[in-house]
Symmetry: D2
Subunit: 382 residues, 4 copies
């Protein structure tokens, strides 16, 4: 009988969007059993949520320290914990579970502050357990295919990368509506960290560009703006970027782009070819090559090669979406933890501590640049 990993969760109680996404993603490929949780910082709410989700109530904990303590002593204790709290509450539980040798799957960005990030990084390095970040867009099969094409040299030397992540949901002062908890904490520097839009979705954008290209961002010149009056963090940003290998480019990040739902696009240009992808129709990419007609890459279609590690649950033309991409992170994490034969290749694909630190530096360098009249700011200075 196949082995399922025992899963716990910190955060993700009633009304939390991302907690439900994590649980659904863990169920998708049937590699996890959800068994324990500390689902809210309010103990009553934690218990209510646990009941609703059908947890054994003896394994619903009032705080993550108790949970780590008690679960680590059980023979059937959780092997993996998902951390789905606001950013400022990532480091605490992550360190606690890692120290107990329990694997952690954590929401991005890694932490709210660089201090927390550094402390967490030390815990990651000294733990035998794995630490994964749910940069979920890197789980889309077509994105992995693009990564594989770049790696195989199909684009030649890279020249330009561009990313745009445009949403409109914070176009007015949503955080004052009293009914949008996500808007509240995402616009609160204490819970989110130094950046708003750049931290929330700029982080995804830079991660995906680095994931697909294998490059690293070295320097940024950023112009962060708060368009909605009274808001405490940026809700829009233009960022010019310089990557390793002399690649350049720019990012457009916005949460006040009226009418946009989750319009996240990337383009990669090399000497020989180019690739374009749009999250809102994620089963396709456009592949250009010098002197040839553009091609349409489809999920599971003609170009797809095995080494892209882009597993196909259903045939081409049957669209997979956001949840399937998210679930891929969970699926791969399970395969790594369970020593799947492709463990090493999968480890290269899944974002962990190094990747988390790089994105933290990107976020903080962007804020620093913007505060200094947009001067070029190296990530190494953070």
């Amino acid at each position: 009988m196949k082995k399922k990993l025992r899963l716990g969760m910190v955060g993700g109680g009633q009304g939390a969007f991302i907690g439900a996404v994590h649980r659904l993603s863990a169920r998708m490929d049937d590699k996890y059993e959800f068994l324990a949780g500390c689902l809210s910082s309010t103990p009553e709410k934690a218990e209510l949520s646990a009941k609703e989700l059908g947890l054994d109530l003896t394994r619903s904990y009032p705080d993550y320290k108790t949970m780590a303590e008690q679960e680590s002593q059980r023979d059937d204790g959780v092997e993996v914990v998902s951390i789905v709290t606001p950013n400022h509450m990532h480091a605490g539980p992550a360190i606690e579970f890692l120290n107990k040798g329990i694997h952690v799957i954590c929401d991005k960005p890694m932490t709210a502050t660089m201090d927390d990030a550094n402390e967490l990084m030390r815990a990651i390095k000294s733990s035998k357990a794995h630490f994964f970040l749910t940069h979920n867009y890197s789980g889309y099969p077509v994105i992995r295919e693009m990564r594989s094409l770049v790696k195989n040299g199909e684009l030649g030397n890279l020249r330009i990368v561009k990313g745009a992540y445009l949403q409109g949901w914070l176009g007015s002062k949503e955080e004052d509506s009293g009914s949008n908890k996500q808007a509240e904490w995402r616009t609160d520097p204490k819970r989110s960290g130094a950046a708003g839009a750049v931290g929330d979705i700029g982080s995804h954008t830079m991660h995906l560009l680095e994931f697909v290209t294998g490059l690293k961002c070295k320097s940024v010149a950023a112009d962060l703006t708060t368009f909605v009056e009274g808001r405490k963090l940026d809700d829009d940003a233009s960022i010019m970027i310089r990557m390793t290998e002399n690649v350049k480019g720019n990012l457009s990040i916005s949460q006040i782009a009226t009418g946009q739902e989750n319009n996240f696009t990337i383009s990669i240009y090399g000497e020989k070819g180019a690739l374009h992808w749009a999250q809102e129709n994620p089963n396709y990419a456009r592949f250009s090559r010098v002197g040839k007609a553009d091609q349409i890459i489809t999920r599971g279609g003609a170009i797809q090669n095995e080494n892209s590690y882009a597993p196909i649950r259903i045939p081409p033309g049957h669209p997979e979406g956001y949840l399937e991409g998210f679930a891929q992170i969970y699926s791969d994490a399970a395969d790594i933890i369970l020593n799947h034969k492709n463990k090493n290749e999968l480890l290269e694909l899944l974002p962990g501590g190094d990747s988390g630190m790089q994105i933290m530096k990107f976020i903080n360098a962007s804020v620093k640049s913007s505060n200094n009249n947009s001067i070029w700011t190296d990530l190494s200075s953070i």
Copy 2:
């Protein structure tokens, strides 16, 4: 603690595409527990598959009769059974389980023959249990929104409906490759029934048009063709249709449409408005109204209304796909079985025996028309 339905499965063993889709769909919204199965007609393979899927082996059965017999006697026996066998193997197990009062979720089309369909229909009528067909495309939220818009009169009196379901996977003699079981049975009249492409995907097309419009197909003039030499069933069809309420239209059905993956589109035209949808990018529809600019309907977006029963797992712009639509059928079936407050509305949405009979008549009228030089053939003549 929330109640999960105990689920069994007939068919869907190793290598079966659609069985895995059903199981994943049942898991998606966490309303089912998969506990028993008769996963293959070959007993050894059934047991192997059961092992692989982590079933309690005492509940892996060598044949569906034994399974129905024994499960119905257990206190913790399955409450719902999924039937995911080829068409000719639908009626037998469906009748057996219905007779034991166990709910059935069955793959479409209902059966291979009209005789089987009639017999199954009698069992459905005399059973207290529910019978549902997985016309999964009716689970897409945007499709349900379109149905709601039509019902609310936004298109005025309807005039024309058009459907096209175009695939290319049977463009050569795939059934002789020795490695494509689905191609084998789908092109075999004994297992599939009187029609090939029309039975497999024409059935989806007509169901979806009827689902969205509330109309019924009355008559067809069809031209079915077998383009691949030696194949025993149609692999392409043009069908002119006449619906209730004087609505007319046509269908294009093909499994030899080179390059097409799963290109299923519908258009509905009324006096006041029109709607267009394409399965390969299913989170959007185009909504035309006389004298106004076309609008883009998005899943969960501005137009969405509660009465469309198009639940939103994730926010607009985060694409849901084929599996989420499929899972909606499972989710709604659970809510009906568990007497959810919207039970009656959901019963209208889920395809059952009546809908199954109508589609069986559509399939067989199309074959009859084509055999009679494409003369108009009433479904009531079947």
Copy 3:
């Protein structure tokens, strides 16, 4: 100095849409000089229009017979005449000018009736002058490229062709508005002929399919409908078709398709490949090949080959539209008349009398089939 052809026009006076299109198309590539006309059947209106267009008023004629008579006697008389009147007024002037040895460029369809068509065909055969029909969509460069790809065998043996031409402008009784002359004559059997939508836009659809594939339509099974009460001709049609070489397919033709502007699309499927084109974005086509990623053909782009006779006025990415495609017919007609080196190849491309007769038979066979309960009706029976 380069030679310009002296051009006259019959019809196309004030307020006539298509006359202006012909004149602009003739000007586009600077191969014609517009010098004479009989611009309206109302002499005063003819003169007023001539004045407005800057014609020498001595060459503005009250009727086409006088014009043919006098122009043919001038040394500097017109060499080519454009006929842009309603269908029932094509044959008369066309025959008159052809008999005088003056080339004719005529709007489609060829005539209103088969009798007129036969008579005109005799005049075409006995004249030394050329007769061209403005099936303008065959002038789009990407359409010509598609024809070239089919001819070169890139699609293998063809199997299916599909065409849809969908407009919404006749969704209500526009012909009674008093302000839409085109709606008036197009819905009037005396001026339009036996068919409405099928004659106006069905004709374009069938011509384009034959043009791109080199096949001929042999038989039709048609369902023509008049949805708008009181209208005298069809405003919608579904047509199943059988072509030479055992190719099959279907057409959707409508002028009551709410919200559609000029949505004309064709698809061609062969054993090895397929091509798709949409008139509303005409600089692109999609090219599928078995086992390969789909390619995007662009006007003037990577695939374009010289033998497609798809001249490029401006570089790829600078969209050419309807007028440029229309002008291509004028440009090619001039090159033929002036004995351009590619004269023979261009003659194959430009629709003339044979093509006109074929489309007349297609229109009339469709009407005949529809009147006979949609039975298959051979074009040879017309």
Copy 4:
């Protein structure tokens, strides 16, 4: 009889792409007669080109000074001159003709250097004749409709503007191929000016954003790059921008974006709405409004209003392209010169000297910023 303007041309001889575009554009709406030219700086080539184009050879001039001198003395001398030479040859002839009271239609950008621009500006101010720049993209009807919507407040206060103009034709050292004159002069600082891609297409991008929004660019932070080794001017740029009214944004400009043909897009975001347009399919725009479904604006479609001055040559759904947009500039210029009743409104639409100076400052500020480590650089400092 209607009056046609007598037109001359400087530049645009054999093999020159843009000269042919100007002539075709002038012919499109039949408001000009092309009568004289100085078509090349090489006198023999000038005469050969004149012959080919059917000019009266006595009006083919070896140099623009002679042409200005002699044409201004003829009763039937040219009233308007098109200047279609490389940038460094704009100011000379433009000043010469303006001084003679002959109207000038000049290719963009205005000049190669700021000194030339200032001198030309003085001539423009002191001449009774008009000076127009062919920022042709502002002639697209949908662009004018967008301008009208912004002006009417449909977007509310503007917040962000974004433009991308991406081409791939200079991805390798095309200027050394010996067969691409345009590549040669566009990459030559002496003929092009201080910028390459930014001067050629960045200029269009900024002009169009200013045209649609009515805003002016105030400051830029730019990162210009020369990716192709040995090239003398930038072939790619990222530019962050600050506009009047506290609007911000960014531009992506590239001529080395592999696979891109002429991918020019703009987006305008306001508090209440947003607009998106893409040049490669220019008959459509996307119009978002807070809390409503996105709408599709079509050329000549439901939203179009008369005050947008976006004349419709052909009905919606019949695509107009690049040449029609370009011709609109010529058509409007003629209406202004001939005192059309909408003269004042048209003057607001057509780019002239002020607009030309603004774009020259934008180009030079971008170069200056890039040379100063991308610091914010005010256009007023140029």
